[in-house]
Amino acid sequence: MTSRRQDSSKQLGRRQFLKLSGTSALAAATAATAVVSATGSASAAISGRTNRPADLPKATGPRCVIVGGGASGLTLAKYLKKENPKFDVVMVEPNYLYMSPFLSNLFIDDVLDASFLQHSFCDAARKGNYFWLQGMLIDLDREKKRAYTSEGYIDYQFIALAPGIDYNYASIGITDPALVEYCKLNYPAGFKPGSEIFTIKDKLGRFERGVFLLTVPTGNYRCLPAPYERACLIGDYFKKNKIKGKIVLLDPGEKPFAPKAPGFLAAFSELYKDYIDYKPSTTIKSVDPIKKTVTTEFDTISFDDAAIYPRVRGAKLLEDLGLADMKSPQLEADIDPYKYFCKGDKTCYVTGDARPMPFSKSGNTANSEAHFVAKVIAAAEAGKDIDWMSPQTVCYSMVNAHPEESIMVAAKYDEKTFGFTDVQLDNKRSAALGKANHEWGAGLYRDMF
């Protein structure tokens, strides 16, 4: 015990050491106790930051922990507090700054400044009256209702994880970890917020001639129309800057994302005939990121640069915590499909793109869904249940930037089949929808922050 405390003091900063010493026996005992993770097995005793209470004020009401500050987590944190002001809400998010994946294609084509997409978590928490703990979830003890974060543990009444997606590079034949890493850094997909998108934008600035490769993943990937919108806007970029480039868009599907296919196909042929080489019904067998080639079932294509988007999966965090359905194709959360709780545990929820239901993985869907899940959790706290409400998907795609023109689709989901219903669709690109495209995003930020 003594030696551990001494070892800890070497690793800890002065403040943490004093804290540990101050609460001495209790803290040391906690550090020495085996942490029972959600998987049920006792891991080796961990010392350090995760085994002290997080620096938060004492909970003033039932404490709700939200893991993840994306469209889902931000909306959930804000609306949980609105549904029940007595809730003590803590959002755990490691990033310094929020940057939306939605509208990022407009950023890479200079339609929008990065600042439009970036927002302050301080503002979110300040206006939403909740705490932002800048850190990440490391482990979860659902029996003790204790969330271990990189900044210490939080005891909770309810926890909702909205950790988003990770990429599955094995789906395109990349399994060597070194090659996965190489592909991530050199040809980032651009569907997790922040650095990836800046790198893709930088690539466009450097691109001089040749083939820029884009890929459409298999499965239910984040933002179904986005690869097509990206092809359009890179096409616009090449046109505007007179770049002798060709965008090769590999698509396992027969045509672009179903409702918007006519709008995208019209743009490809009317605006980008000389720029986009759209290859539908093409499955990627393997990628050689070093040689810069992709092998499909038909041939091998060389590229000069790329943004390679593999199949998505539920965030690995869920798998680490034992909350993923290991039989599901995208290793998404094992939750009730209507009420989002982890099976058998109405104090633990998973929302957002890590959900297994076939809803569109998009910011608008996650935002709309979180309004409902906030009501579900508030009802659960009161011992009640509420009827299912469909999330709403509203989705704009900008297919031209000179002038700015977009197409859009809006829909809800059928309670039994989870298919699209109440579809409102406009495939005729227009400046009106282009303007609305910006306002759609602005409205989402207003609701999240």
């Binding site: 509203v394 109440d422 009106a432 609305a436 759609w440 409205g443 207003r446």
Partner: protein, 239 residues
Amino acid sequence: MQRPNVSRRGFVKVCGGMALAAAASNRLVEPSFALDAAPRLKLVDKAGKPLKAGALEAHANYIFNYPYVSTPCLLLRLGAATPRNVTRSDAEKAAYTWPGGVGKDGAVVAYMAICAHGLSYDGKKASFITYHKARSQLSATERTITCCAHAATYDPANGAAVMSGPAEFPLAAVQFEYDAASDELTAVGLIGTVLIDKFFDAYRGDLNTEFGRGAYRELLKDRTAVVPIAEYSEEVPSC
């Protein structure tokens, strides 16, 4: 605790409780402040002459500001008389009564042009929430108010009731006094869930730029000018 918002003019009083103010149907009600008396503003044309209700083109979109220089309202003359004394529910699910359209034809209505879903509004740069006589892509029926941002639609003939989309309560309605002898309109209050507080908070930066620091919070006096929407906004997306 929200910081009190006190105007130098002394019209505005900090109201901690709100329930009292909420009860009166023609008073301007806000979550964090309440007006002692909502301004009475005569609707005038661009030249400053009183507007005649009969001169409004049916099914056209007009904008006037009420009660602040910066808070937009959509004025419509629908094709027919609306129902009268319609019951609607506000954001708190409390019932209120929308009196119905005014004018000789009982078809003149006005609502705050600030979407009850996500606060998209009709501003100088662009108007996102407008009325369509014909069906549009976003509205399943004719004669609806549609918000381009997230496809919220409202029924102007029924107190801006939510028809489809993500809004959870109607647009706030402008209350009028109509003088049949002169065919003139005076805006005297707002009914329903008034989102001015949230509107100012969401757009403070833009409003400061557009109107001058703090000037967006000035209350109009005596009169408010009605203009066709295309003259109010640089862009009016149609969706």
